[in-house]
Amino acid sequence: MAQEAAVVVTKLRLQTLFCGLLSVVVSTTTLAAILPEERADVMYHLYDGGGMTIDGTSLLVRKNVADTYSFSANSYVDKVSSASIDVIASGASEYSEQRDEYSLTGTYLQGSMLLNGGYTSSSENDYDAETLYFNVDQGFFGDLTTFSMGYSRGSDDVMQNGNDAFADTIDRQNYRFGLSQILTPNLMMGLHYEAVTEEGYLNNPYRSYRFLTNPLDINAGFQTATEVYPRTRTSDAATLSASYYFDYRASLKFEYRYYTDDWDIKANNYQITYTHTFGENWIVDIKYRAYQQDQAYFYSDLFSFASLDEKDFRARDKELSEFSTQTFGIGISYQIPYFKGGKYIDKSTINLQWDHIQFDYDNFRDITQNAAVGEEPLYSFDADVIRFYFSIWY
């Protein structure tokens, strides 16, 4: 049992994993008051980096009814095989697991207003999550301006393999506001804000922080203990975006996000995407993204002392450290002429996208390397992310 617990020492922070996939069935309204496109997508995805391999499938189907209603369903699978630095550093061996997620959404169009709601559930052997959400989009000024707002409520159950006595929960609420504005026939801008509040068991039960065995003698080595997190977290994030259309049928998109929370994490990232078309059937996307964040106030790679009580917070999650990432991406989409304008299928595409991400940590050390305590080399790794999918519109 202890070995089983050790094997899964460094699972990803699954609450965030779950959240990300919700948006698969919620598309941002850029032109007000239109229903989502009727389409189906089937995707194979692969993440490979930092000792982790995660692959799986995603299937999305959307259907509109009577030009007023739209419904969608999505199923998503993650198959994880991990021997990340956290697993190796703990002395555990590689582990495998699977996460399954299902989503249903409904959309109602009334004049210039779009009402959208949905439900998502995610399950794995030690984490269950459910979320309900609701969004409203309203067009103004001849639909040059779109105002949107939304609310989500999530409830997670956190468990721990090998420890049947452990069970806790997370309650999560999201509040969103957005504004999209057409400025010229070629330029659109957007501003989106989202606040997230969470309450419950917010750390990963498998992760540990390390502290000096003897703070007066660093050569005495270090010990580890289960992390101690605050039970609440509140964050604010705002994104400014712009999309510009070139008359030779290309586009340039820019996004900047600023993030801050009450754990003292401040982050910002920007992304530039250039999209170019070749003839009627080929679309190529080139992307660059940069991200940087400061550490949480209770993060340290090496503490001097152990935590004194549940209010004396301690974390050594690299996701809470100070670090930066860079992403270089390219994508190719080919519209299959054979399926274009058929009786049952309007068009279809086959798509391949590849992103290369570099992670560079400023104060998270690689303790699998032989070095004096606190002087291990800083950790860094690269990851490749591939999506291969087939889409049809009908």
């Binding site: 959240c19 990300g20 919700l22 032109l31 659109m188 975006s241 049928r249 964040q293």
Partner: protein, 81 residues
């Protein structure tokens, strides 16, 4: 008394001006006409051209970065639109 009166008049004027502004806002003439918006209908201008792929990338970042929410064009976050 005169100052009070002036204040009252100013408030009334301000109220009328705000009401006119609001009413005016409702009748703003779109400076980009509907027939000039075909570029925004091109899929390459869509904020979420490939929903399964873009949401998956948000998922990749959210699991490995401290920030969350307001994921821009493609929505994201916990049910973010």
């Amino acid at each position: 008394m005169q100052i009070r009166l002036a204040n009252t008049q100013f408030q009334r004027l301000l109220t009328k001006a705000l009401m006119l502004l609001l009413l005016g806002g409702c009748s703003v003439e779109p400076w980009v006409k509907p027939y000039e918006r075909q570029n925004f209908a091109d899929p390459i201008m869509s904020a979420d051209r490939n929903p399964v792929s873009s949401s998956y990338m948000h998922h990749v970042y959210q699991a490995r970065e401290g920030a969350r929410g307001a994921e821009g064009g493609a929505g994201g976050g916990c049910g973010c639109n």
